[in-house]
């Protein structure tokens, strides 16, 4: 039977962590991305400055450095804050939450650029038509802007998602038991690194291949009504 020297279950647990991490981070990234895009396109100068700083700084620093900075720096910040507020015990940040927060925060900046481009690609007349019939701003956003921008956002969104799934591997350095860390432990114990890392590589490939198919389907779905180029 296929047991990977007894480490199969352990690595599958790690795979489950990776999947959860990727999907949760995606949620955070999409939310921050939409807020970032709206901020960048808003009329308010302070909002534009904040979002510009966010996307410029985050996209300009390596993911690993940011991860270490946010995880260890964040840990210290939280503890200093807690101490200042009179809380004596050491606060340990849950590595899963730290991972989701960090990856979501990093990829939110990329998503913001993706969504900003997509919003700008929707023709102004489509939105004006909505407004001219008395739709509220929220209705125009939800009923017209979002369904039309998805089509423009999907190619770049898919790209970000694939990069993000792979970027989850770096959480192993902050001690989160994702599949890379589990494989590392197994490889160390059995001295069979090739077997375990190949298995993990194969798992990533399954995730990304399935994603590619789902994205292709979504692109077809949201191109309905558009002329084929």
């Amino acid at each position: 039977m296929f047991t990977l020297y007894g480490y199969f279950d352990s690595i599958m647990e790690g795979t489950w962590v990776t999947l959860n991490l990727a999907l949760s981070s995606l949620g955070v990234a999409v939310l921050l991305g939409i807020l970032g895009a709206l901020g960048k396109l808003s009329n308010s100068r302070p909002l534009r400055s904040i979002t510009l700083a966010y996307t410029t700084i985050i996209r300009g620093i390596p993911d690993l450095v940011l991860m270490l900075l946010i995880f260890y720096g964040g840990q210290m910040l939280v503890n200093n804050l807690a101490f200042a507020l009179g809380y004596e015990e050491y606060v340990d940040i849950n590595p899963f939450i730290a991972g989701v927060g960090t990856i979501g925060f990093i990829f939110g900046a990329y998503m913001a650029e993706t969504f900003r481009g997509a919003i700008m690609a929707v023709s102004k007349g489509q939105l004006e038509a909505g407004a001219s019939f008395g739709m509220t701003r929220l209705q125009v956003f939800i009923r017209i802007l979002v369904p039309q921008m998805i089509r423009y956002a999907l190619p770049s969104f898919g790209n970000n998602w694939l990069v993000m799934i792979k970027a989850t591997a770096i959480v192993s350095v902050i001690g989160l038991d994702d599949m890379v860390r589990k494989a590392g432990i197994a490889a160390g114990a059995t001295r069979k690194p090739f077997t375990f890392y190949l298995f993990v590589a194969f798992n990533y490939l399954i995730f990304t291949t399935v994603s590619t198919y789902i994205l292709a389907w979504a692109e077809r779905r949201y191109s309905i009504g558009e002329r084929r180029a």
Partner: protein, 268 residues
């Protein structure tokens, strides 16, 4: 009080839309330099003018797609008040009121602006369902009626990009009609159409005028203005240069500008 206003009161006609002393600048460019127009219920007002004369901007100001810098706009019995923000921007005082007024005026755009991700039928029922809160069933029945009226009910399940320009503009007119508006605003409805498709759209508009709908039509179609409208306005450089019943002003243009405009239009 304006001459038109007095006339309307005397003839006991209700005013559907009136605009007084409308000003609008884009940056340093003053597009409207104090324009006053009014349309009585059931009247067809056509606005002519060379490009850049500000005629489309008037319609955009009426629906607040562009906010006027100054001016009194009354739709039905509601005046829309403006306010100046601290940073100098002029905005409507009450956005809810603007939404309400917009739902009573339906705009037809030069570029049609049908929502490209919806079928023709969904385009027509969208605003009635989400703005007027009609049930889908009710809205679909109305959609059927109005799509039939403009002659494209058979295209109800098609997407806009699969229709010709003339069919798209007729669908856009059906979408506007489905709101059962108090007035319809046409912003150069035939300018983006191939010449052989202009006729089918003008015919629909002709029929609507005969039904007694209130319409303000910005157009280059002099023939339409002449035959269909009850009042024609000629704009030049942000001001009204000439206005009156088409019979009078086309036969005896007082303004030299308007005479030139007509002469150059007939040549082409």
């Amino acid at each position: 009080m304006k001459k038109d206003t007095i006339k309307a009161l005397m003839s006991n006609q209700a005013i559907a839309i009136s605009v007084e002393d409308l000003h609008k600048s884009f940056g340093n460019l003053e597009v409207l330099k104090g324009v006053s127009i009014s349309a009585n219920k059931g009247e067809v007002v056509s606005m002519l003018g060379s490009s850049g004369s500000g005629k489309s901007t008037i319609l955009r100001c009426l629906t607040f797609l562009d906010v006027p810098d100054k001016g009194k706009i009354v739709v039905g019995d509601e005046e829309i008040h403006l306010k100046t923000k601290r940073n100098g921007m002029v905005v409507p005082r009450d956005h809810k009121q603007v939404e309400r007024v917009r739902s009573k005026l339906s705009m037809i755009f030069q570029q049609f602006n049908l929502w490209s991700h919806m079928t023709i039928q969904d385009n027509v029922i969208e605003a009635p369902v989400h703005v007027l809160k009609q049930t889908k069933k009710e809205a679909r029945e109305k959609a059927r009626f109005y799509l039939d009226k403009v002659g494209i009910y058979d295209k109800k399940d098609a997407y806009p990009s699969h229709l010709s320009g003339g069919q798209q503009q007729r669908a856009a007119i059906a979408r506007a009609l489905a709101m059962e508006p108090e007035a319809m605003l046409f912003d150069e409805p035939t300018s983006a159409l191939d010449p052989e498709l202009v006729g089918e759209v003008l015919k629909v508009m002709h029929d609507l005028a005969e039904e007694g709908r209130t319409m303000i039509v910005v157009t280059h179609e002099i023939g339409f203005a002449k035959e269909v409208s009850s009042k024609t306005i000629f704009l030049n450089e942000g001001r009204i240069e000439e206005e009156g019943p088409p019979k009078e002003i086309f036969e005896n243009p007082k303004s030299e500008r308007f005479r030139q405009f007509l002469a150059s239009s007939y040549e082409t």
